[in-house]
């Protein structure tokens, strides 16, 4: 059990973090105080062209020096700073969050590597070879705030009301299969993608092995990160349209495919067979964000809740209607999406 709520303003009007803190906090019952987090898109307009690399350091001596050496090898740091935090009585500061605004040097890894490839390389290199350092976000103009604590404490710890953006994702964690820790708190980010997730990906082993065959490495000890990597693989690398990428992750059942008209049947059969190891099983509701919009989806037999609502330019996705009503007491429309069918809100 976890709680999620996210919002997009499709006109890109900025929203500060005050309302989402309140909304997530009324779902405290869905968590246990061992993980909460927020993502905001459009957070760093002054550095919008730089990748905002977020790192948790255990100390600022060994790991920090080692990370900065790696950064210098493959690009340039425009600006870096300790992420401001404010002591909270119920939250123990176990790591020191730092952010770098970074420009990769595309020739650093040879001629075929893109800027994104360099970021993926960096994240893998740091998270697997430098103890005491964890890169947990690499997106442009995206800020991630997460820690082990209750939603309101994590929000106050980072003072998220001081940040503005046109997309907010938030998550309240109830860790079940792996321990609660800062790196295991949601949202999970890779490049432009951020993910929050309620439930379990029971196909984690299959998905992980599939992703590893494309060079991704899972380092967060939790199933959610495969969603971020699968999205990156299908949408950025394989260039599948968003709707199709989700269909590959939660395809129709075989007995439903059997009774489809021929053309549709052939297409769905091909999709299921091509992306069989990318299919996600288990109970889940997820919201995936990119700079282009947000999308929410549940597992195919709806074992976790998801409610959607619209008001003007804003689309809300949440585990509970009540949380949406904290942010928007009178939505134009409120509904429960069907299982396995994505609800997508794109910027205009």
């Amino acid at each position: 059990m976890c709680g999620i709520i996210s919002v997009i303003d499709r006109k890109k009007n900025p929203m500060d973090g005050t309302a989402i803190r309140e909304a997530l906090s009324i779902m405290d019952e869905r968590g246990n105080g061992e993980g909460a987090g927020y993502a905001v898109y459009g957070a760093f307009p002054e550095f919008a062209d730089y990748y905002a690399i977020h790192v948790f350091y255990d100390d600022l001596i060994g790991p920090k020096t080692a990370v900065e050496e790696e950064l210098d090898k493959v690009g340039t740091v425009k600006h870096d700073e300790e992420i401001p935090t404010f002591e909270q009585p119920n939250l123990k500061k176990r790591h020191i969050p730092w952010r770098y605004f970074f420009k990769p040097n595309v020739t650093a890894l040879g001629t075929t590597a893109s800027e994104e490839d360099i970021l993926v390389y960096l994240m893998k290199k740091v998270n697997t070879t430098i103890p005491g350092a964890l890169i947990y976000s690499t997106g442009k103009n995206i800020a991630i705030f997460k820690a082990a604590g209750w939603p309101e404490d994590v929000a106050d710890f980072y003072r998220i009301q001081d940040y503005e953006g046109y997309i907010w994702l938030s998550h309240n964690r109830y860790p079940t299969n792996t321990a609660g820790w800062w790196g295991g708190a949601h949202p999970f980010n890779l490049l432009d993608w951020s993910v929050v997730h309620n439930g379990e990906i029971t196909s984690y082993g299959t998905n992980k092995r599939y992703l590893e065959s494309f060079g991704y490495v899972c380092t967060m000890h939790t199933d959610t990160e495969v969603v971020a990597y699968l999205t990156d693989l299908l949408q950025r690398q394989h260039k599948l349209p968003e709707e199709l990428a989700f269909k590959a992750l939660t395809p129709p059942f075989w007995d439903e495919i059997d009774i489809m008209p021929e053309k549709e049947r052939e297409f769905n059969t091909a999709l299921r067979m091509t992306y069989s190891p990318a299919m996600m099983n288990g109970p889940f509701a997820i919201v995936v964000a990119s700079s282009e919009g947000i999308a929410g989806i549940t597992d195919r037999i709806k074992l976790r809740p998801l409610v959607a609502a619209e008001k003007g330019d804003r689309l809300y996705l949440s585990s509970e209607e009540a949380a949406i009503r904290v942010m928007e007491p009178a939505p134009d429309r409120i509904w429960m999406p069907r299982a396995g069918e994505p609800v997508i809100g794109r910027v205009y």
């Binding site: 007995d255 809740p305 009540a322 409120i334």
Partner: protein, 249 residues
């Protein structure tokens, strides 16, 4: 005369809220009005009392009136997951929609939802002797309706505009007791394991009539066709649909 009490629940946690409700019932209050409800779970859980009405203004959190025995609860908003969970006696009227697992394991009493409900409506409803729970849904439902049903009556009125009463898989999967009555078409391939269609008789029509009347009265609906139209009657094909799955027999 009604002995009424109003509670402003804005920002209130469900524990003190439920304590106030119980104290009011103990003091002989017969109408409790809860204003500014938003997301409080477990409202009225385990509450006992005759001639007690709780009016919920706002969206109540999950497991509304769980284990309740006796009172009536009227919600003027949508409800979240599992209202009427293991309800024992009493009534719930929801003037809106409800989430997944509505009337989960309900063992008595009545739940009325004006509009639609989510997945697994009426999962594991059960009955015993004179206790027969009833769930009435006004519009439509999602997959796994009446899953593992062991007893009770589940009625879907199919009032949804351009929406069939149910168009998703697993209707009555594992049903081994109780009845579903669905107004409109239910294609055979949507029936789950253990569920089968049965004749809809005049006796069936008489059986569901009082509950349709209560639905119409509460929600101000005047649609004579609800009494005249054919209903698809679905029940268990056997009392033990998964008997063959057990190897020691």
């Amino acid at each position: 005369m009604k002995n009424s009490k109003t509670i402003d629940a804005k920002g209130m946690h469900y524990t003190p809220l439920n304590k106030e409700i119980r104290a009011a019932v103990k003091d002989g209050v017969t109408e409790i009005i809860l204003n500014n409800i938003n997301g409080q779970r477990f409202i009225g859980n385990g509450l006992r009392g005759e001639d007690v009405t709780i009016i919920v203004n706002g969206v109540p959190g999950g497991d509304l009136c769980m284990f309740m025995s006796g009172p009536t609860c009227i919600v003027h908003a949508n409800a979240e997951h599992a209202p009427g969970n293991t309800l024992d006696r009493g009534k719930i009227f929801i003037h809106g929609t409800a989430g997944d697992a509505v009337a989960h394991s309900m063992r008595g009493g009545e739940v009325y939802v004006r509009d639609s409900i989510g997945y697994r409506g009426g999962i594991h409803m059960k009955e015993y002797k004179d206790k027969c729970p009833v769930l009435v849904v006004g519009e439509y439902t999602r997959a796994f309706l009446g899953e593992y049903m062991a007893g009770g009556i589940l009625i879907v009125l199919g009032r949804g505009k351009d929406q069939p009463p149910v168009d998703e898989r697993g209707v009555g999967t594992g049903i081994h007791g109780g009845e579903l009555y669905i107004r409109g078409e239910v294609p055979d391939h949507l029936l789950g394991i253990g569920a089968e269609k049965k004749p809809f008789t005049e006796a069936d029509r008489e059986k569901i009539r009082p509950y349709i009347e209560k639905y119409c009265r509460e929600f101000g609906v005047d649609e004579p066709e609800l009494y005249i139209d054919e209903y698809v009657h679905i029940g268990p094909s056997s009392a033990r649909p998964f008997a063959e799955k057990y190897c020691w027999e």
